[in-house]
């Protein structure tokens, strides 16, 4: 009979299988399922983690331009490796800061009307000489970058 056949498969305790064996089989099944998941998850998670790329940050000094490129009361965004840096020229001399806004990562630019560094996204304003927050939502000042001027050449020093 078909009915008998199918009843034998789910192995109800009354059929005579000891509870210990049943528990053991359940444990074994759970172990199989768990190890399968682990076996699948390990390569998938490993694959998803991006491999460390060789740093495309330029080491040492980077030529940012000449002093003629950045007259007093202006600023210019240049690339130091893959990092954008803003070089400003104020009454206090040349300064350089990371051009990544500390608010949400937009690239800041020199605002010539304000004479300050402004962020186009949410209106954050930074001091062009110190990088300090003047107004707007940025929570922290811009990270300073060491700038060296030799003759008419502006160098950025990658720390």
């Amino acid at each position: 009979m078909e009915l008998e056949r199918t009843e034998a498969v789910p192995a109800v305790p009354s059929v005579g299988i000891p509870a210990g064996r049943r528990t053991f089989l359940r444990w074994l099944l759970g172990f199989s399922v768990f190890s399968t998941l682990a076996m699948v998850a390990t390569p998938v998670l490993g694959f998803l983690v991006p491999p460390k790329s060789t740093s495309n940050q330029a080491g040492g000094r980077v030529l940012a331009g000449t002093t003629a490129d950045v007259p007093v009361g202006s600023g210019k965004v240049v690339a130091m490796g893959s990092t954008p840096v803003i070089v400003t020229n104020t009454a206090q001399g040349f300064h350089a800061f990371s051009a990544v806004c500390t608010h949400l990562g937009c690239i800041v630019a020199f605002d010539s009307t304000l004479g300050q560094i402004g962020c186009p996204c949410h209106g954050g304003v930074f001091n062009a000489s110190t990088g300090a927050v003047v107004s707007g939502p940025p929570p922290a000042p811009l990270k300073p970058v060491t700038v060296v001027v030799e003759k008419d050449q502006i160098f950025l020093v990658n720390s």
């Binding site: 078909e2 009915l3 199918t6 390990t42 390569p43 998938v44 694959f47 998803l48 491999p51």
Partner: protein, 364 residues
């Protein structure tokens, strides 16, 4: 219907946790998912059915292809400049990249094998006959789409083998009478295999074909669910439901199927580890390497094209595919038992033998 439910109810009653009466739980009252899964987990399986799990294995491998393909797409760049280097990077730079790529490579091959064996099984058991004509027709569509996957995916690594196999393959398509030139232009996105071809093949491989396959598969599985499995010993009557003893789909059949999936997964991991997917030199449109050959499942076509005029070599397989798709409408013998169908089986076996011989010759 009543008769069917009765039989199924009897056979699955002892373990119908997900069966006829879903528990009146918080989730069930809000979603009805238990009732749905309960209905889905009933497939009519005559005790005489023998599937060797080939259709289910093809389905499993397709799922695996989706998973590994999605992972590969996270690093793959579909441009001539980026493709080769990104595949190289996946293989040697990404953690377990070689494994994911090799499983995708071998999974594609095993999927073709399982699908062909599935077709042979259906043919042998006469399971394409009465009431299953549409199921067979949709299956033929799945066959064509799956071969399309193989054809489009082959180009993506953009190495010499990929480039020249695609050049030859699209050239064959270009020999089709009347529409050949337009077909060639459509496939390549121009006169030659270029970055336009790569974009097209990538788009086909990751968007068009998966959607097409998923749609056909949904229809295929819905029909299987509706009809149940075929009885290889008895032709299906015209009446509402054939009688006979049944085997529970869940958990019995599902459990067997999952064991088969485990076995194939093990085979895949072994193949991927022992024979990982390789990569030849980067594609060079100015230099055809010697001994360029297509994937093994196109070898019979490749060999046939060497033997007969190009037109015959194109038209003949086309007709064969048409006959295969329309088989239920051409073979009107209602008998399903192999020894009562000598002519159909004779033609089928001869065709298979010819394909096998041509494949071996093509490989040699």
């Amino acid at each position: 219907m009543a008769g069917r439910d009765e039989v199924l109810g009897a056979t699955t009653a002892p373990h119908s946790a997900v069966g006829a009466k879903p528990a009146d739980t918080w989730l069930e009252r809000r979603t009805g998912l238990g009732a749905l899964s309960g209905a889905l987990l009933h497939v009519r399986i005559p005790i005489e059915s023998r599937t060797w799990y080939l259709g289910g294995l093809t389905l499993f491998l397709f799922g695996l292809q989706i998973a590994t393909g999605t992972l590969l797409a996270l690093y793959y760049k579909p441009t001539p400049d980026g493709a080769y280097d990104s595949v190289k990077f996946i293989t040697s730079g990404v953690t377990f990249g070689w494994l994911i790529r090799s499983i995708h490579h071998w999974g594609a091959n095993l999927m073709i094998i399982c699908m062909v064996l599935h077709v042979v099984r259906i043919f042998w058991q006469g399971a394409y006959k009465h009431r299953r004509e549409v199921l067979w027709l949709v299956g033929a569509g799945l066959l064509v789409v799956t071969i399309g996957f193989g054809f489009t995916g082959y180009l993506l690594p953009w190495d010499q083998r990929a480039f020249w196999a695609t050049t030859v393959g699209t050239e064959i398509a270009g020999s089709v009478p009347v529409v050949g030139d337009s077909l060639l232009n459509l496939l390549r996105g121009g006169a030659d295999v270029t970055e336009a071809t790569l974009s097209r093949f990538f788009g086909m491989h990751v968007l068009v074909l998966p959607l097409l396959l998923a749609a056909l598969l949904a229809v295929h599985l819905t029909i299987v669910h509706h009809l149940g499995l075929a009885n290889p010993k008895k032709a299906e009557p015209n009446g509402p439901e054939p009688g006979g003893k049944l085997k529970p789909f869940f958990p019995n059949y599902v459990l067997d199927e999952v064991i088969a999936w485990y076995a194939v997964l093990a085979i895949l991991v072994i193949l991927a580890s022992v024979l990982p997917a390789g990569l030849e030199d980067k594609a060079n449109a100015l230099e055809t390497p010697p001994h360029i050959k297509p994937e093994w499942y196109f070898l019979f076509l490749y060999e046939l094209l060497k033997m007969v005029p190009r037109l015959v070599g194109i038209v003949l397989p086309g007709i064969a595919l048409g006959v295969l798709a329309l088989l239920p409408f051409l073979d009107r013998n209602p008998e399903v038992r192999p020894r009562k169908r000598p002519i159909a089986l004779g033609i089928g076996l001869l065709t298979l033998a010819a394909i096998a011989v041509l494949t071996v010759m093509g490989a040699g």
